[in-house]
């Protein structure tokens, strides 16, 4: 875990450093509070790097992997992320309802543990019904969804 902690703390330090530089472009009053936060954040990150780094140096666990997921988990995560990105992109171009229903079915079917005909039909029916109900309910509550090529 030490190796992971060191690397994530370096990333956090980089974020604080980036925002600290950004503060330079702001007026004195606007920069006051964020600068304080960045300095504190940077100090904390440095402290964490030093503490975890020294532990890592002492234990020298060469077996520790930096990436927290295995290949299968990475694949599943990437597929879900891909569906979500396509879902977002389709909202304004294809249409809110159609994209949502397609994405719902895609998620439910891909992650279905038992791929039998019965389960597939159940998943599709559940997604279509719930998707439409949620859409209609929010529409009734006054939410105006974007309309594109389709609904």
């Amino acid at each position: 875990m030490q190796k992971k902690n060191v690397v994530t703390s370096i990333i956090c330090a980089a974020v604080f450093l980036f925002f600290l530089f950004q503060c330079g472009a702001l007026s004195e009053t606007a920069a006051y509070w964020p600068r304080m936060i960045c300095i504190v954040g940077l100090a904390l990150s440095t402290l964490e790097i030093a503490l975890e780094g020294s532990k890592w140096y002492r234990t020298r666990d060469s077996q520790e992997r930096l990436w927290a997921l295995n290949l299968e988990q990475t694949k599943r995560g990437l597929i879900l992320l891909g569906v979500l990105i396509l879902w977002c992109l389709g909202l304004n171009t294809i249409g809110f309802l159609v994209t949502s229903l397609a994405a719902l079915c895609a998620v439910a079917l891909y992650f279905e543990p038992i791929k039998s005909r019965r389960h597939v039909i159940r998943d599709i029916a559940a997604c279509l019904i719930i998707g439409v109900i949620v859409y209609v309910m929010f529409g009734y509550l006054g939410v105006h969804f974007p309309r594109a090529l389709l609904i």
Partner: protein
């Protein structure tokens, strides 16, 4: 007393009863839907009340407010998707209970503690409103800053495993809250030329992303397993017992008082109250070691506090015309639409409208507790839905919920970014709650600090010196010391005991 009874009978007329029930049900639905807040619900439904008389209209809007505060906890407990920002703290223990197959228990506790919180808030509104409103005037910039700082000390108790990592996340949350316009001069800050970012990062998409999207990623990480038969039987046989009503009387009382006090202070709200109450619970509760791992007392602390906020926020709204939060601001507009002038006169000339409204809030609390405790076993069955379908539905609700906040697709992208970030943060053992805390408290702290700097000619030392001259500040400083030290003392004691 005779007056109170008279107004209570007025609140019990069939029309008022029906409107209270209707408002409560609508409120629960609105609260449970991610992204759809009480503010939006009341704003959408105010036009419906234009033709109603003032009393009926106010009763309806008040019932929506009460119902939505409770409703937010339902989705937080069942699917780790807080319906409102105030319910985010409830998700910590509520969802943990659901994962242990105790969703029914968590929902019952949420309804009961919300009820007690609501009752305490309403009692204060009924009997002490004018006095407490005057007290709230003593809250200056220093007190507000320390209040926010006190809120941030909660990070210490939330991150006992790695306080530095927790504090780093708190700083990230505070930085996120800086995006948008600076509160003094109104100049763009960290917007990188984007007009969208000028409005700041909206709370709801960030919270939904961090909690529910990251949860979906986590739950779909490995191959899913079918639901166990045990859970199905457990929910079928679940029964509400009278003793459930009085499980944590001490927690109900102090959490409600915390919620009430925080509610009275304008600019704060249910989200701050529930975290403060949760932190206090973690220090004083008998079940403190279970906090974060499915403690029923943890759910009780958060829910009693955020429901007591309802009465608290209404105190400055009705007595001074100062809305305690966004929801009461909309409610205030409802008052003016019906020709009522907020202020002390509401309790004298307008008492024929104000008191039945307050009385109906008690009935709204009663309505939601009945719906909550008797509906809990049916709501809990949501968790028996196959996980792949549940994940798809959570994604759909989250996405629509985020879009509904401002009708802007970019909010959905924000949710997605926060979701992925939250997933990785959890994988690398970072606590995401401090980010939410930082986002909630960042604005309050900065605004108060800037006000202080203006008052004391940019002399930070002078501001700090005044802390020791103000009684509320001293009390808050002491509370901060306790809040920071207590988790470590208890952790040490625990280690010694082992």
């Amino acid at each position: 007393m005779a007056d109170i009874l008279y107004y209570f009978v007025q609140a019990l007329t069939p029309v008022h009863l029906m409107v209270t029930l209707m408002g409560t049900v609508v409120g629960i639905i609105v609260g449970a839907l991610p992204g759809f807040t009480a503010t939006m619900g009341i704003a959408v439904l105010i036009p419906l009340t234009y033709t109603w008389n003032a009393s009926t209209a106010l009763i309806f809007l008040g019932a929506i407010y009460c119902g939505s505060m409770f409703g937010g906890s339902i989705s937080a407990i069942l699917i780790n998707t807080p319906g409102t920002a105030a319910a985010a703290a409830t998700a910590m223990d509520g969802y943990a209970m659901t994962k242990q197959g105790r969703a029914h228990e968590a929902l019952t506790e949420s309804a009961v503690s919300s009820f007690w919180g609501g009752i305490v808030g309403n009692l204060a509104l009924l009997f002490f409103a004018p006095v407490m409103a005057k007290w709230a005037f003593n809250f200056g910039a220093q007190e507000k800053f320390l209040m926010a700082a006190f809120g941030l000390t909660i990070i210490a108790s939330l991150s006992t495993k790695s306080i530095i990592k927790g504090l780093m996340m708190g700083c990230i949350g505070l930085l996120i809250a800086c995006v948008g316009m600076d509160p003094v001069m109104g100049r763009a800050r960290f917007t990188f030329g984007s007009t969208y970012l000028m409005g700041g990062i909206t709370m709801i998409p960030a919270v939904i992303g961090l909690f529910s999207i990251s949860q979906v990623f986590s739950s779909l990480k490995d191959t899913l397993k079918p639901k166990s038969q045990e859970d199905i039987v457990r929910y079928k046989t679940a029964r509400f017992k009278v003793k459930d009503f009085f499980c944590y009387p001490i927690t109900y009382l102090w959490s409600s008082l915390i919620g009430l006090v925080i509610g009275i202070i304008p600019g704060t709200g249910g989200d701050v109250a529930s975290y403060v109450a949760y932190n206090t619970g973690k220090i004083v509760s008998k079940e403190r070691e279970q906090f974060g791992n499915g403690s029923r007392d943890g759910v009780a602390a958060c829910e009693a506090a955020n429901n007591a906020v309802v009465g608290g926020t209404l105190i400055p709204t009705l007595t001074l015309g100062i809305p305690g939060n966004a929801t009461t601001a909309i409610l205030l507009s409802g008052l003016t639409i019906h020709g009522l002038t907020p202020g002390y006169s509401l309790f004298t000339d307008g008492k024929g409208v104000t008191y039945p409204f307050i009385m109906s809030m008690f009935l709204a609390n009663l309505a939601f507790v009945l719906i909550g405790v008797f509906g809990a076993k049916y709501f809990a069955r949501v968790t028996l839905t196959p996980q792949n379908i549940l994940a798809a539905v959570v994604l759909n609700l989250s996405l629509i919920g985020c879009y509904a906040v401002r009708g802007n697709v970019r909010d959905v992208y924000v949710m997605l970014i926060f979701g992925v970030a939250g997933y990785f943060l959890k994988l690398y053992k970072f606590n995401i709650v401090p980010i939410v805390l930082g986002m909630i408290l960042g604005d309050i702290a900065e605004e108060a600090l800037q006000q202080g700097l203006i008052l004391y000619d940019n002399d930070l030392g002078a501001i700090f010196a005044t802390f020791l001259q103000r009684p509320i500040c001293i009390a808050l400083l002491l509370m901060m010391v306790v809040s920071v030290c207590a988790p470590f003392v208890m952790e040490r004691r625990k280690k010694k005991a082992v």
